[in-house]
Symmetry: C3
Subunit: 343 residues, 3 copies
């Protein structure tokens, strides 16, 4: 597949600076690109590479101002990252999965499998499971009874879905994900023993959700643990029972959300965050990496630190933290001076 | 299944406030309950819902004092949460697992399988494995050679048990759990290379233990990593080689315990805690979420923060932390005033 | 297998203090050893046990100075831990895996399997996969198309390898590890929706790498996520897309490394550390447990805390932290005294 700068500029309604006839046949990172490749610049951390890259074409945002000459042809577009993502799709060799049901899968007689499914080897599908059309279930997955997996969803190898789970359309579930395991609910007894609370709820995953490898989502005690439309979860995340995550919220790796907490829409939660149970996190909330959230958060706020504080305040406190040596020194100086006055 | 308030009060030795003849046929959360449902109030965070719930009956603790009228019938019991847990068990549709051994499981000829086992599809059971009676092993589990799984234990789909593991009676092991992988032991060599220390120990899990999804428990270098009776581990927990966790200790998600640390009985360890290796944590210890434990802890203490301090002290320091802006301001004021005096 | 103290001293070029003819037939931890066992002392935390141990022989480092009499025979060696590790290997009953390909494995007709492989039950091996000689693939693993697994590498049960992954020689991959899942890359759209960036790169794992249970390593967006020779990763670690980890670097459990960060050689990174994306961590860097790394780090530095600071400074600040009560008290005293002066 080959495209000229002119063709690419047309695709993305971009403007060309340099040779419009230069042709690319591959995609590459700006710091690894060679002749004949197209690359992009979106992250300011990589700006320096644009002056040394061997890429033939570089997609940049409209507002990019070079401070040195650039060798390749620039194409200015509204969103260089998005444009490059489109090219990636265009170039990615479509993985040819034969849409077949392996003779080494075990599918319950009461399950209803949609059209054009791929069901890999050693997949176990329980009673009354329903799959939509174009569903891909890779090898070694287990789908518990009464679960539903809707159209175009993909389960990579070794996904474990407990009974009565709902997975929407166009979802991508990566390897090792566990959906629907029991919530961590135990009632303490007089003799220090913990008695298990039966978890009779389920997990509902709406459309367009992506879930990263080895993430775990527990079923609700009663009702449902709910992952709303468009949510993106990274790897090794813990979602406890009865949690609800609002539409298009994005959560980075190793974050944990304790039971019954509700998270709003369009939130951005960084990695290794811990959120206590029974909270309400509003819409459009941002939470910094490794934060510990103990209290509910209102719409649009930014929180940071452990225990988490409003972002501006947290950043000021971290400045004091870094200056703590000087602060202590100043106190001792004051004390000393003070003693001199007194004496 | 239907019960009147009178019948339920009898079950739990409770007292009725309201209509003793009202009948319920389902269970629900207090904030989602509709007519004909029974709910409960145990967590003070949910107290407000008792005045608006549509539940026909609400289980409350003896000491609950309403500050507004409640529509439903109250039943006061000793432990509302425990009582509700009993009702959950009563109502939970018993999942009918056919107690059969799948023809798609591979079981070594030298394994001894107990009575009334369920062994799902694509389960691999190694040489000399012994299972007790009423053991459930869901699809895609692998049980290594010489392991023992005792009566009534459940392994959900995709559990991986390495060779020579002991699992007691009435244990519940959730999907993706790994038991018995090698401890992380390497001896540094002169050339910066790390040489693997062979891990010849094993993992012993006593009775009544529950282990959450994708938790990992490493085998001992020598001897055993031991999880004592009644321990409850949440999801994505790391238990390193030669760790021992005492009876009825409860640990929340994503906590990590480094090698050779011993944890006592009846401890409550919150989520995302890190505990350094070779420590001794006493009995009845409580550790707050995200804490970093560097030192051994005595019986009955409460620790918090990173690095963790005794809980009362830690809380005072966090008050100072939140006031750090004011503290700095005060220092500058003192300095300024002091300069005025001097001049 | 039996050895006398004399034989063991010879093996490790050690010197004997005590009876050279005493014989051992087993290995044990110093605090659990009984008569006829050999143990070792390397960690100073265990020094006290040497005076009470029942071990017949104890390996110690050259510089060990007993402060009480020791019952057993001491053998002084250059590195007691390494010597003991050698004995462990000698004594560990070689696990007899029959080097066969299970008739319950599914291997693509286009895959090329090396000599003397063990391929367990319910292993799925995709098109064009190549395995070297003496490769062990335990049950329930899935190997995606076009992947390569080189000589002597071991994949424990339930490892999931996505397509086009490279695994070098002598690697050990523990259960539940996921290699090659999609990087967490999404381009925000105007309507708050996140559009997936196709991840067309792969994962390259060089020789002598060990990867702990349930660790996840994402494929690169473009190019490769690279784990260099001799790297040791513990359990439940997150390695994001386009990360590179340098030779012989060791990382403890539950650490997470965000996208495109490069880590140097011979680093030691403790558990539950979080490292932000797009950083450069130098060679020989040490990072303390639970640290949050926001900035690049130069060769040979030691960092600690969240946000992480140079280790010496971080430790001083934690001393201030512990003294915060006293510091506040002093400020109030100064203020009070100041007011007295003024009045």
């Amino acid at each position: 597949m080959e495209f000229s700068a002119r063709q690419i500029a047309q695709m993305f309604n971009g403007t060309i600076e340099g040779n419009p006839d230069v042709v690319i046949s591959k995609l590459a990172k700006i710091d690894e690109a060679s002749d004949g490749a197209i690359s992009f610049l979106a992250n300011p951390l990589y700006t320096n590479f644009i002056y040394s890259t061997h890429a033939s074409i570089i997609l940049v945002n409209q507002d990019f101002i070079p401070i040195q000459p650039v060798n390749g042809t620039l194409i200015r577009v509204e969103n260089a990252y998005s444009a490059f993502a489109h090219l990636l799709e265009l170039f990615s060799s479509t993985i040819n999965i034969s849409r077949q049901i392996s003779s080494h899968a075990c599918i319950s007689g009461s399950a209803r499998i949609g059209k054009n499914n791929y069901i890999g080897e050693f997949v176990s599908i329980g009673d009354n499971v329903i799959t939509g059309n174009n569903v891909l279930i890779y090898p070694n997955c287990t789908i518990g009874a009464d679960s539903v997996i809707d159209d175009n969803s993909i389960l990579y190898p070794g996904v474990k879905v407990y009974r009565d789970t709902r997975i929407g359309k166009n979802c991508t579930i990566h390897s090792g994900v566990v959906i629907g395991s029991d919530g961590f609910g135990f009632a303490p007894q007089a003799d220090n023993i913990f008695k298990k609370i039966i978890q009779v709820g389920n997990v509902v995953i709406e459309d367009e959700v992506e879930i990263g490898s080895n993430t775990t989502i527990d079923r609700a005690t009663l009702g449902s643990t709910i992952i709303r439309k468009g949510v993106k979860l990274d790897n090794l995340i813990q979602v406890a029972h009865n949690v609800e995550i609002g539409e298009n919220t994005v959560i980075a790796a190793q974050t944990g959300i304790a039971g019954s907490t509700k998270i709003g829409r369009n939130c951005m939660i960084a990695g290794q965050v811990g959120i206590v149970g029974h909270l309400v996190i509003g819409d459009n909330v941002k939470i910094g990496a490794q934060s510990g959230i103990e209290h509910s958060i209102k719409d649009g706020e930014m929180y940071l630190g452990t225990p988490a504080l409003e972002g501006g305040k947290a950043r000021r406190l971290y400045v004091h933290w870094r200056n703590f040596d000087q602060i202590i020194k100043k106190i001792y100086e004051l004390e000393k001076l003070f003693k001199q006055i007194k004496s």
